[in-house]
Symmetry: C2
Subunit: 215 residues, 2 copies
DNA sequence: GTACACTGACTGTCCAGTCAGTCATTTTGC
DNA sequence: GCAAAATGACTGACTGGACAGTCAGTGTAC
């Protein structure tokens, strides 16, 4: 009885994969807490509790609260952009379908997942972490906009699109996704909108504008 | 000499207008500090120093740090929406020109002023102040979207617009303004874009899409 | 028996909010 | 007129609590 008194203790995470798994547990917990309270108000005691470890353990995986935040953000960016970069060069697909594919990807791989929350957290804290803002800009924004511009330019070159606004300002094409992101976290609770239908409407508008025919 | 030793002391602010002026000084200082550090990291000592008063004085104008933040946000919203609501009902102006007027107003009265920073601050902190998010939604978002929807519906009713997407999702029309707001504060520093040209391009796209002709 | 992942009580710092005190100005008493 | 007393806006040193980061100690695996 006395031997079993104190609950089973996890085996020490020796192997690299066990270490990575535990780090991920900590990052997941940190995301929850940071989302709920914001960076400054988040307590590492709470992060530790949610991850099921003691506070000291956090410092075996991450050297400071700020580093924890940065690790969290870095773990959530980059992957999807690479995935898209591979799919885009296909020249058999019309620019329209490429844009549609991109939006589908956005919806299912970002807006519909935990990554959405990471992006939101980043947007909220970025002005206090200029270095992180720069990383995100370089690794995600620049590359994402390049893809969009590439699609738009090809559309123009083939005569599929008659307008070059998206090639000049690819930001315009993803702006509604940003609205969707923020609306979801701020207002959806008391004024729900159908995000999917909104993005669909945006695509329709965009196609009408780019192709220059009446529907 | 000994009499003049200590600098002139402000005369006590007795009248209501003097009190309001000092409150405004404090709110301005608070906006600077909150923008720089975020709500949680902002120190009231710094706010007081920037406003040129002692910390205790803040508490003669505002009961708590949170109340200071709320007063700051409330002081910056509402005004412009009312101004627009008065201008819109004019039926002599085409829907297109109404939209253009709205965007001009956005650029000059919000994106080009201190209000932009208040909105940014609000967006960043809103998830930690749900009540404030609700006030902002009710006082600004709902009313702003109503105006947009109204313009879009009139455009459709007159046959000026052939698409109803903006009437269904007025958010789509202002999405680029949100991008402009965030880009300015996060990335403009190392990747400047021409906000005005971007909003102009958005209007062109929107018009092409709504009117359904080639340019 | 030792190496090492893990623990959690502890420490030093930071800051929101307080309040006894200061000092122009106004009012009262003569 | 003028001194003394009252007023109240303003001050800033102080307090109490909170929390990031530490480290001596514990238990487990091998």
């Amino acid at each position: 009885m006395s031997v079993r008194q104190r609950a089973k203790r996890r085996a020490p995470a020796r192997s690299e994969s066990e270490r990575q798994a535990k780090l991920q547990t900590i990052l997941d917990a940190a995301l929850d807490i940071f989302l709920e309270k914001g960076f400054a108000d988040a307590r590492l005691d709470d992060v530790a509790a949610r991850a099921g470890v003691a506070k000291g353990t956090l410092y075996l995986y991450v050297p400071s609260k700020q580093a924890l935040f940065e690790a969290l953000v870095r773990s959530g960016i980059g992957g999807p952009v690479r995935a898209i970069e591979q799919k885009v060069p296909d020249p058999d697909i019309s620019a329209e379908d490429q844009l549609r594919g991109l939006f589908l990807f956005l919806r299912t791989e970002i807006l519909g997942t935990r990554r959405r929350d990471i992006v939101r957290l980043l947007l909220m804290e970025a002005s206090r972490f200029p270095e992180l803002a720069e990383v995100y800009h370089r690794e995600v924004i620049v590359r994402g906009l390049r893809i969009l511009r590439c699609i738009a330019e090809r559309g123009v070159a083939r005569g599929e699109f008659r307008s070059d606004e998206i090639a000049r300002f690819p930001q315009l094409a993803i702006a509604p996704a940003l609205v969707a992101l923020l609306w979801t976290s701020l207002f959806q609770r008391f004024d729900p909108i159908d995000i999917e239908a909104m993005l669909e409407a945006h695509l329709m508008l965009l196609m009408k504008a780019l192709k220059g025919h009446p529907s």
